[in-house]
C-alpha cells in the first residue's frame, strides 16, 4: 500500500485543529457564560466570607453617636439607630451565611447520595428500609423543628442550624436519586461492569454516580439556597442568637427598629440584595452544570451564541438549513488562499470540492462524460426536463 507523503493535508491541518480544540475544552464549564457569571458571584461572596471580618472598617457591635446616618465616606452603607456600621455588619455576617449554606448543602447532599443511590442499587429489603427512612424524614417539617431545637439549645450557632437543615432536607434528593438509580441499574453498561468483575462500590461510584451528576449538583444547589434562606429567616424572626452576625440578624434589627418607617433604606436593602445575589449565583451555576455534565447538551449549549449569531435554530426533528455558507463557511475561508476554480487543475483538492457550488462543476475540463452537466444527471438525463 502506498501512503503518499503529504506535506499539506494531514500535517498542516491536524495540529492546528487539535490544539484549538483542546484549548477550548480545558476551559470546561467556564465556556458557559451563565455558569461563569454564577461562579464569579459565588467566589466573590466566598472571599468575603473568608476575609470579611478583617476588611470590616468598624467593629459591627460598636455603638457610636452617629445614629441612622445615610451612606457616607466613613460609613459606606450608613449606620443603625445605635450608630453601628452596617457595612461592617454585612461583611462580618457573610461568613455565617455562606458557612451554613455550604455546610448544610454538602451534608444533605452526602446523606441523600448515600441513602438514595444505595437504596436504588440494592433493591429488596434494603431499599424498603432506606426508603422508609427517607419517607419519615420527608414528613418532618424543617422550620418548626429548627425553632424548637434553637429554643432548647441556647447556644445554637451556625453549625447547629446547618446540621438541622441538612438532617431535615436530604430526603427529597434521596428519593429522586433512588428513582434515577433504579433506571440506571438495569442498563447494559452496569451489567457489563458487573461482568467485568468490578466491585459494587466501584460500580456505584464510577459507573452510576457520573450519570447522576446533574441531579446531585442541582440537589446540592437547591439545598444550599434553602439552607441560606432558612438561616436568614430564623435570624430575622429572632429565633437564633441575635448577637451572632449574619444578614438575617441585620434584617432582624432593621425590622425591630422600624427602619422602614424611619426611611433608613440603607439598613435593609444591602442585606436583601446580598441574599438575592447569592441565590442568583447558585441558580446560574445550576444551569451551567446542567448543560455541562450532560455530554449531549454540551455541544449545543456551548455554541448557543454562535447559533444565535448565525440564526440557526437547532431542533430535533427539523434539521436546520444554513445557507450562510458559500464563501462564508469557515471551511472554505480557510482554503480561499488556494487557487481553485479558475485553474481547472486543483493544486489541493479539499478546497475545490468543499466550496463547490454547482456552478464550478463545469470548470473541470477533461471528464468526457461530465461535460458541463451536473454530475448526477448522467443517470437521469432523459428525464431532466420533466422534473426541472
Amino acid at each position: 500500500m502506498s501512503v503518499q507523503a503529504d506535506p499539506i493535508g494531514l500535517t498542516e491541518v491536524e495540529p492546528a485543529k487539535k490544539t484549538g480544540k483542546k484549548g477550548k475544552r480545558s476551559l470546561g464549564i467556564l465556556r458557559n457564560r451563565k455558569a461563569l457569571i454564577g461562579l464569579i458571584m459565588l467566589a466573590f461572596f466566598l472571599v468575603l466570607a473568608l476575609i470579611g471580618p478583617w476588611l470590616a472598617p468598624h467593629d459591627p457591635n460598636a455603638v457610636t453617636q452617629d445614629s441612622l446616618q445615610p451612606p457616607s465616606a466613613d460609613h459606606w452603607l450608613g449606620t443603625t439607630n445605635t450608630g453601628q456600621d452596617i457595612f461592617s455588619q454585612l461583611l462580618v455576617g457573610t461568613r455565617g451565611v455562606m458557612l451554613v449554606g455550604l455546610l448544610a448543602g454538602i451534608l444533605a447532599t452526602m446523606i441523600s447520595v448515600i441513602v438514595g443511590v444505595t437504596a436504588g442499587f440494592l433493591g429488596g429489603i434494603g431499599d424498603e428500609l432506606l426508603s422508609l427512612l427517607a419517607n419519615v424524614f420527608l414528613i418532618i417539617p424543617a422550620l418548626p423543628l429548627i425553632i424548637i431545637v434553637a429554643a432548647l439549645v441556647p447556644s445554637a450557632g451556625g453549625v447547629t442550624i446547618a446540621l438541622i437543615i441538612a438532617l431535615t432536607g436530604w430526603a427529597w434528593g434521596s428519593r429522586v436519586l433512588r428513582a434515577q438509580t433504579l433506571s440506571l441499574r438495569k442498563r447494559d453498561f452496569v451489567e457489563a461492569a458487573r461482568a467485568n468483575g468490578e466491585p459494587m462500590w466501584r460500580i456505584i461510584f464510577f459507573e452510576i454516580m457520573p450519570n447522576l451528576t446533574a441531579i446531585i449538583a442541582s440537589g446540592f444547589i437547591g439545598t444550599a439556597i434553602f439552607a441560606i434562606l432558612s438561616e436568614v429567616t430564623l435570624a430575622f424572626i429572632g429565633v437564633t442568637s441575635i448577637s451572632e452576625w449574619n444578614w438575617g440578624t441585620i434584617l432582624f434589627w432593621a425590622q425591630s427598629s422600624q427602619a422602614l418607617v424611619l426611611g433608613a433604606w440603607w439598613w435593609f436593602v444591602p442585606a436583601g440584595l446580598c441574599i438575592a445575589a447569592v441565590g442568583t449565583s447558585l441558580t446560574l451555576i445550576n444551569f451551567g452544570i446542567d448543560e455541562f455534565v450532560n455530554p449531549r447538551l454540551r455541544n449545543t449549549a456551548a455554541s448557543a451564541s454562535l447559533l444565535r449569531k448565525k440564526g440557526i435554530r437547532a431542533r430535533i426533528g427539523f434539521t436546520p438549513v444554513y445557507r450562510g455558507g458559500g464563501s462564508q463557511h469557515p471551511e472554505t475561508t480557510r482554503d480561499d488562499d488556494r487557487p481553485d476554480a479558475d485553474t481547472g487543475t486543483t493544486p489541493r483538492g479539499g478546497a475545490r470540492r468543499r466550496d463547490a457550488a454547482q456552478a464550478d462543476d463545469a470548470t473541470v475540463p477533461g471528464r468526457p462524460a461530465a461535460s458541463g452537466l451536473p454530475t448526477n444527471s448522467r443517470t437521469t438525463t432523459d428525464t431532466e426536463e420533466v422534473t426541472a
Binding site: V3, L306, V321, Y322, H329, T345, R348, R353, Q358
Partner: protein
C-alpha cells in the same frame, strides 16, 4: 382501501439529492459529514447505500428527510421530492415545518434500526399503528383499526396481534410491525435504516423477501441503508457506495458485484466470501476510514488505496463516467484511474472486469 400500482417507468426520478452538504457542529471545528452528495432515486427502485460505519450513510438519509438531530446542520444543496400524487412536492430543504410535517410518513416513511426503541413499550402495537394513520388521515376509529389489521396481515402477522404490546412480539415481528407502520399511508418512499441488522439470518431473509414482495405490490421506492454489501447485491436495483461522506461509486447492483470500478468497492467486495463463482482472496481494506476533521488531500481514499499514485494526492476525483465511457452510461465512479484528464496508469484488471460475452468494443452493455 385501494392500492394504487404506479407504472414502473424506470427513469422517472422520485427523490433527487443535489450537492447536499451536512456539518456536525456550528463553529470552525464543524465536521463536514457529507460533501456535495448527488444521488437520484427513481420510482419503484430499491437503492442501496453501503459503506463502512461512519461514512455518512445514515447521515445522508436523515439529512435528506431533515430528521438529523443537533448538532447536525445542512449547509447546502437541494432535496427534490417529486410526488406522483401531485400533492406537495419540491425542495424538502425549503419546506416550512407544517409542510414538512404533512409530508412526513405520507410521502416518506422510515423504518428505524432498533424496532425495540422505535415502538413505545407502554402502548399496544395496534394503537401505535392507528396513531400514525390518525396524524395524517381523517378516518373513523373503526376504519383506522381495520386498516391497521390489514397492514399487519400484509406483513405476515395475524390481525389479532393488534392488541399485543411490543414486548410480547419477537424481534422479527416487531420489525415487521415497523414496516407495516411505515407502509400505513402508502408512502412513495420508504427509507430503511439497517432494518435487519439486529435479526438472525433466517429472519433477515424473510424480512427482505417481504420488502421486495410489498414493493412489487405497492410500488414504493426504497432507500436501503446497510453495511451488509452481500445483502444489498441481492436486494437492491442500484447501489451507491459511500466513503468518508462522499459517494464514490453509483451503479447497478449486479455491476457493483461483478464489475467494480472503484478500488474501495473492490475492497468491500473482498471483505466477504462470494457465495457463487470462483473463490476470491479475502483481502479486506487496510486501515480505517479517515478522520473527517483531517482528511487527506486529494482523494479521500488514497491513503488506503492499493492503486494510489501521485496524482491522487493532488486532485479531488469527481463522480463521473468509467473508463469505458459511453459503454456504461448508467454508472459513475469517483476515481482518477477512470479519468482520462488525469495522468494515471492504466486501470488495473481488477477494476476493469467486463461482463462475459462483451468486449471492450462491445456495443451496448445493456
Amino acid at each position: 382501501m385501494t392500492i394504487t400500482t404506479p407504472q414502473r417507468t424506470q427513469a422517472e426520478p422520485l427523490l433527487e439529492i443535489r450537492n447536499l452538504s451536512v456539518d456536525y457542529g456550528y463553529d470552525d471545528d464543524a465536521v463536514r459529514a457529507l460533501s456535495n452528495v448527488n444521488l437520484t432515486l427513481h420510482r419503484g427502485e430499491i437503492l442501496g447505500l453501503a459503506g463502512e460505519s461512519g461514512c455518512g450513510k445514515s447521515t445522508l438519509a436523515y439529512a435528506a428527510t431533515r430528521l438529523l438531530p443537533p448538532p447536525g446542520v445542512i449547509t447546502g444543496g437541494e432535496v427534490l421530492f417529486t410526488s406522483s400524487r401531485s400533492r406537495e412536492s419540491g425542495d424538502l430543504l425549503r419546506m416550512s415545518d407544517k409542510q414538512l410535517r404533512a409530508q412526513r410518513w405520507r410521502d416518506t416513511a422510515i423504518v428505524f434500526q432498533g424496532s425495540m426503541n422505535a415502538l413505545n413499550p407502554v402502548y399496544k402495537v395496534g394503537k401505535q399503528l392507528i396513531d400514525g394513520i390518525a396524524a395524517h388521515e381523517k378516518m373513523s376509529r373503526s376504519a383506522m383499526r381495520e386498516r391497521a389489521a390489514e397492514l399487519l396481515t400484509m406483513v405476515g402477522i395475524s390481525a389479532d396481534r393488534l392488541d399485543s404490546y411490543p414486548h410480547q412480539l419477537s424481534g422479527g415481528m416487531r420489525q415487521r410491525v415497523m414496516i407495516a407502520m411505515a407502509l400505513a399511508l402508502e408512502p412513495e418512499l420508504v427509507i430503511m435504516d439497517e432494518p435487519t441488522t439486529a435479526l438472525d439470518v433466517v429472519m433477515q431473509r424473510q424480512i427482505v423477501e417481504q420488502i421486495i414482495e410489498l414493493k412489487d405490490k405497492l410500488g414504493f421506492s426504497v432507500i436501503f441503508i446497510t453495511h451488509d454489501v452481500s445483502l444489498l447485491i441481492e436486494l437492491a436495483d442500484r447501489i451507491a457506495i459511500m466513503y468518508a461522506g462522499e459517494i464514490v461509486e453509483d451503479a447497478g447492483s449486479r455491476e457493483v458485484y461483478h464489475e467494480p470500478r472503484h478500488p474501495y468497492t473492490a475492497g468491500l467486495l473482498h471483505s466477504f466470501p462470494p457465495l457463487r463463482g470462483p473463490k476470491r482472496e479475502l483481502g479486506g481494506i487496510p486501515g480505517s476510514p479517515p478522520d473527517l476533521l483531517s482528511l487527506p488531500s486529494g482523494c479521500r481514499f488514497r491513503t488506503r488505496c492499493p492503486y494510489a499514485v501521485d496524482a491522487c494526492a493532488q486532485l479531488v476525483p469527481e463522480l463521473g463516467g468509467t473508463v469505458f465511457g459511453d459503454e456504461e452510461p448508467h454508472r459513475s465512479v469517483a476515481c482518477h484511474l477512470h479519468d482520462d484528464a488525469v495522468d494515471t496508469p492504466a486501470v488495473p484488471a481488477e477494476l476493469a472486469v467486463r461482463p462475459e460475452g462483451r468486449t471492450l468494443l462491445g456495443v451496448d452493455p445493456r
